[in-house]
């Protein structure tokens, strides 16, 4: 009898362990770190600043990640796109608002193909939505106000964060949460600066935060 109960407990423990181990495997990790700016001065104030850095992860084993149902929002106010830099997952709908005092136009320039797309001109209080279904950098312009520009980075996977470079420390911090365990390639995108050394490989363990500090610098020093 004692033998049977012991064996039952072992089976239960083994079963429980077998179940919990994969569950533990599904606890997402995170990647965080500091982005340092090297050998460059960066203007962090004003409408078209250089303070935004997008850090994103691309998994080495491809998977299916459905886009969020929630719409992203890009507003126009004071003849400026707000925010200046935005990152969205492919398939996200972005609402373009007009909270300004004038009519605005939104016009995309797809950086990789050079194609353009005009999604219309509308007045204050109105909005137009657009689904971004191709990855890449989309430069957003307004034909009525030529000085307006914004950058939308359309990414395949939902692992990204937009960090802001601080003027004093010339660095930004980032943390990308909800990353399933696995191996990734980490890349940083900036309007002008390049990641020193190129993209890096990062391993994410379940439930743990991997630290990866990166440096961005001018293109000629970025090799």
């Amino acid at each position: 009898m004692k033998n049977f109960v012991f064996r039952l407990m072992m089976v239960a423990a083994a079963w429980g362990l077998a179940v919990s181990v994969p569950a533990q495997q599904n606890v997402p990790g995170a990647v965080s770190g500091v982005i340092r700016v090297e050998r460059a001065c960066v203007k962090t104030g004003g409408a078209k600043s250089y303070k935004d850095v997008v850090v994103h992860l691309k998994p080495l084993t491809p998977g299916l990640y459905p886009p969020p149902a929630e719409h992203a929002v890009m507003d126009q106010q004071g003849l400026v796109f707000i925010p200046h830099v935005m990152a969205v997952q492919k398939g996200t709908t972005v609402d373009f608002l007009n909270s300004d005092h004038d009519r605005h136009n939104v016009y995309f320039l797809y950086d990789d193909t050079g194609d353009t797309l005009d999604i219309g001109t509308w007045g204050p209080g109105q909005k137009v939505s657009h689904i971004f279904d191709k990855t890449g950098l989309v430069i957003t312009l307004c034909q009525l106000h030529l000085e307006m520009a914004a950058y939308i980075l359309v990414l395949e996977y939902p692992f990204f964060r937009v960090g802001e470079i601080d003027a004093e420390t010339l660095s930004a911090t980032y943390e990308i949460r909800g990353v399933p365990a696995g191996n990734y390639v980490l890349e940083a995108w900036h309007k002008k600066l390049k990641m020193k050394g190129g993209a890096v490989e990062v391993s994410v363990a379940a439930g743990e935060t991997t630290r990866m500090d990166i440096t961005i610098t001018r293109a000629k020093y970025a090799k």
Partner: protein, 316 residues
């Protein structure tokens, strides 16, 4: 007997006519106002608002200095606006005076009480000739007990003898010439550096033009040179064969055409505060004064202003 009366009549007329005219104008009429009267005359041919009396004789030869109007805080005055030649519009957005339509031959009276102290900018906001853009000046309101400030009068510098109009082939030089002689420089700044304050404009200052090349995606020096060559050599830029040496050519052209259209059709300055006064500096429509070649030349000038050492990091 009758002869004597006749002589008296003649002498009476000779004296009475001028006396009555000048008495009525100089003494009687001002006495009917119980406040100070300031007469401001717009002289389009000189591009100034002046406090001097403009009459049939001095209009033709006198150079009228731009008026700096000095008032004391809490002073109530009556402004009388006159025009010496064409239609002008007097506007002081910061004080809420105007825009006053000054129709030639009619006198417009505006009552004003100086409730805030400072130096305020007045403008002419109806294009009135070559000197229009310089037709600006200062109203200085001084609190009691202080010495009035003396801001430098704004005077027109367009009729300089050194101005010689370049030929159309030198697009950039012609553009620079037009930029100055048409008055663009008064609002957009010397060499396109901007910085001119536009009251209640959503961006605060009139747009600069040094980075216009970037706005039309000609950030690359080679692209810029190739595009300038295009402007110089092509009679018009409509439907040209696509050149191979300018990257993103179609985008550049669409942005270029948007810029040209803005210059041709003008634009209302977007106000910062919708309930506030309209910004005094508005982009006029130039399509009736400049032809396509001239507008392309001005765009060529803007493109040439892009600083070549700029790597885009320190300038917004």
């Amino acid at each position: 007997m009758k002869e004597k009366w006749a002589v008296i009549c003649v002498l009476f007329v000779l004296l009475a006519v001028p006396l009555m005219v000048f008495y009525y104008q100089g003494i009687y009429r001002p006495s009917r106002y119980n406040v100070k009267v300031i007469t401001i005359t717009g002289v389009g041919s000189r591009g100034t608002w002046t406090l001097k009396t403009v009459n049939g004789l001095n209009y033709w030869w006198e150079s009228f200095a731009p008026a700096t109007i000095h008032l004391r805080l809490d002073e109530a005055v009556v402004f009388r606006f006159l025009s010496a030649d064409v239609f002008h519009q007097f506007y002081v957005p910061e004080l809420g005076i105007g825009p006053v339509n000054v129709d030639p031959g009619y006198v417009r009276e505006v009552r004003f009480k100086a409730t805030k102290a400072g130096i305020f900018h007045y403008y002419c906001t109806s294009m009135c000739g070559g000197c229009h853009f310089y037709m600006q000046g200062w109203i200085v309101i001084t609190p009691p007990g202080e010495k009035p400030a003396e801001p430098r009068p704004i005077s027109c510098s367009l009729c300089l003898p050194a101005f010689e109009r370049p030929s159309e082939a030198e697009a950039v030089a012609l553009g620079e010439y037009l930029y100055q002689s048409m008055g663009c420089v008064t609002c957009h700044g010397l060499e396109g550096r901007g910085g001119v304050h536009n009251y209640n404009y959503i961006k605060g200052t009139v747009p600069a033009h040094r980075r216009t090349a970037a706005k039309i995606f000609l950030t690359d020096e080679e692209d810029r040179q190739a595009f300038l060559e295009l402007i110089r050599n092509r009679a018009d830029l409509v439907n040209p064969e696509e050149p191979t040496d300018i990257s993103r050519y179609r985008l550049v052209m669409s942005r270029f055409e948007a810029a040209v259209e803005l210059i041709e059709n003008g634009k209302n300055a977007v106000p910062l505060d919708l309930a506030g006064p309209e910004p005094p500096l508005q982009m006029p429509a130039w399509k009736h004064k400049l032809n396509h070649r001239q507008i392309y030349a001005i765009m060529a000038y803007f493109i040439s202003l892009f600083p070549t050492e700029d790597d885009g990091l320190t300038e917004g």
